[in-house]
Symmetry: C2
Subunit: 217 residues, 2 copies
DNA sequence: CAATAATGGAGAGTGCTACTCTCCAAAGTC
DNA sequence: GACTTTGGAGAGTAGCACTCTCCATTATTG
């Protein structure tokens, strides 16, 4: 198959495929001449993977490149695998917004960061990841953002989110195949692509739940 | 407070605040002269809301504007409220990728869309939203993307995601305050800002879950 | 075997988003 | 009364994801 065939099979314009080749998102085909190369099913799969990660999971091409690197050269230890998966997670939607100076000038200056400690407590209660894991800092940022927006997240509400996360994670882990390469793919790609699914299901469930609670205003 | 005070209190540059004013993301201050206006706490709150929605929830300014419109002019019926919330959800991460012609040319042309029916089945089983709800189409797109990327999502895995969604939705609905304006804010903004929290918790829970399953390769 | 089409490769240009910068005259501050 | 700040508007910038244009080969077709 030549590049036009790859374009046909994937629905991606030739110009875009050339761009992916240049950007290293797609491995080169087997050259048959100076200006000719053939592509196979591995190319079709890779293009479809790139499109799924950008269109469905909303990743930037830079992050997609990192994901592909991990898939092509799977980490040896389980720990490294999860680390890689989470590194990608952290890269989602831009890096952390470098601490903007919360100039104290208000009536009360917070002694210690209350969101950081709340995040740490939650993690400790569930015996989840390490206290110094970057995910904890991220969670603290997200809680701080919610508070800044005037949303107060009750302990019960947060606990429900944690409970749901446990349910999902158990199923995630159960779905991981035995062989290493497949495992990496399943964890990294599977998680990234089911993130939006989870959010969509949440919206659907909200409709049902709110219909059951006909409030009397 | 003048614009520089607003900038100080929110940590957002004056230039950006002026931009928000021009774009209609921030209501004008009360003018005290031709080239002077004062801002109050409602402005501080609004700026913090805009930043939370863009930085934490990852919304574009266009979508943020829609959210603000809903908050400023709350829909009267509960149904409209959820509709508005979901409209925003659908606008997340760009509109649906207009159906790219999946040129049939392969050996087998699929009779009916298997992902659409799977999505419909799931919704029907849980008695969630209507079958023709745009969310169902979105879910189908997401399932299709996962499949195209070589991820096969088992019924058990999908069921776990649905179960988690139910858990979260129940807590979401329970957290809604009685008065209308607060309810809209809680549902729309609260959901948008806890979406990333849920995904972060999922990653944390995955670490814990995988640590418990030391597999023998 | 000559006319036409497709290919790989690389540079430049496009459209969109979210700012960021520069000006300006009027208003406030020291 | 010099200096700074403000509101307002236009223009410029940076990053992202393409998309377009060229061009010297190859490949295909009549």
């Amino acid at each position: 198959m030549r590049i036009s065939g790859l374009a046909e099979r994937t629905g991606v314009p030739v110009a875009t495929l050339k761009f992916y080749l240049r950007e290293g998102l797609l491995h080169a085909g087997t050259a048959t001449a100076r200006t000719q190369a053939v592509y196979d099913t591995t190319h079709v799969e890779r293009v479809r993977l790139v499109r799924a990660l950008t269109e469905s999971a909303g990743l930037t091409l830079g992050v997609v490149r990192e994901v592909l690197t991990v898939l092509d050269d799977p980490p040896t230890s389980r720990h490294e695998l999860l680390g890689a998966a989470q590194h990608v997670m952290l890269a989602r939607e831009g890096a952390r917004p470098q601490e903007h100076a919360e100039l104290s000038g208000g009536p009360s200056a917070p002694a210690a960061d209350p969101w950081a400690s709340r995040a740490a407590e939650l993690v400790a209660a569930r015996d989840w990841c390490a206290e110094d894991d970057p995910l904890v800092a991220r969670l603290a940022d997200q809680l701080r953002a919610a508070d800044a927006a005037g949303i107060d997240l009750t302990d019960a509400h947060l606990a429900a989110l944690a409970e749901a996360a446990d349910t999902v994670a158990a199923a995630d882990v159960a779905s991981v195949p035995a062989e290493r390469a497949g495992a990496v793919r399943q964890v990294v790609v599977g998680t990234l692509l089911t993130d939006p699914v989870l959010l969509t299901l949440r919206r659907m469930a909200q409709q049902r739940a709110s219909a059951g609670v006909e409030r009397t205003d």
